[in-house]
């Protein structure tokens, strides 16, 4: 089972909520936030290890939130969720420190692999310290 807390930040309430339920059914500790502002609040309180972050939200740009996360919580891994047709946006996010990106509509199997990889990377880092 994947250890660590996961936070989903996506303004699509039904998407975030359903994805949260599916990850929770697999034994994961998951929370969801439905705006950039709410996401930043939860980052401070919930202290997630992995963030699934939507690229485009009405109140804040996902790339700006990514920069804030990397600045304040450098050990938190971020996987970008993008509905944008361009792979370029995902690559730009990775250049800014995102662990990886995944296109919407999300294939859960792909997402689980990326979450596992992010969690494994964090475990290695913590053992190395």
């Amino acid at each position: 089972m994947i250890q660590g807390k996961i936070l989903i930040i996506d303004d699509e309430v039904e998407f975030a909520s359903t994805l949260r339920q599916r990850l929770a059914l697999r034994g994961m500790d998951v929370s969801d936030a439905h705006s950039g502002t709410e996401g930043l609040e939860q980052l401070a309180g919930y202290k997630p290890d992995i963030v699934l972050l939507d690229l485009k939200m009405p109140d804040m740009n996902g790339l700006d939130i990514l920069s804030l996360i990397k600045e304040k919580y450098p050990h938190t891994e971020v996987i970008m969720l993008t509905g944008h047709g361009s792979v370029a946006a995902g690559i730009e996010a990775m250049e800014k420190g995102a662990f990886d990106y995944i296109m919407k509509p999300v294939d859960l199997r792909d997402l689980l692999v990326k979450i596992e990889q992010a969690a494994a990377g964090m475990e290695q880092t913590s053992h190395g310290q």
């Binding site: 998407f15 944008h84 047709g85 294939d107």
Partner: protein, 222 residues
Amino acid sequence: MDSDSINTLRAEQLDSYGRLLAGFSHEMKNHMGVIRESSGLLQDLVAMHGAHLDEQVRTRLEKATAMIEERVKTTAQMLHHLSGFAHRSDVACSAFQPGQVVEELCMFLQRFARLSKCELAWRTEPGAISIHNDPSLLHHLLYRLFALVQERFEPGDSLLIETGADDGQAMICFYYRGAPATQLNLPEELNLPLALLQGSCVIEKRDGGHEIRVRIPSLPLA
């Protein structure tokens, strides 16, 4: 309005359509995301907590959710291509793989081919090159060529669109089995600004069918 103003207006109109289409595609992906997750949640619940369900009900639920998943995947793929298609009009000229432009277009041409009871296939040959040109105009050229070939389709005919390279230029071949188009002056017939693409068209017989070859050069960077 003079012709320059009309051309400017048309270009702006195309740009607007492109942006609207890209927005539409983005929105649809969000809806697809919710449908996929909801269907996935149903699948999870049936798999994890559905042991008490009647066998028939369970099987029907599994089939229905699998069908939703399959259709969402296909729709997502189409939206991905629609998005790429729409963004092509963002800039007049850019670097791109002609094979990708062909693929974006063919996703939508499949329906027209199916309605004509014809088979449409496409492939990119190894060694295809990237070029600097106008991808939106290439969409237009390829669509017009497809429409020309489609007019000659009889049920059971086939069309293969191949992308490759020849002498340092991108080459797109329409190989089809149907009535020949050999007497046509393509640029004139299609009313296409081939001069803008600086492309050339050749029509030849090939393996019992006909082949229309279009060369698309890489334009110098502005």
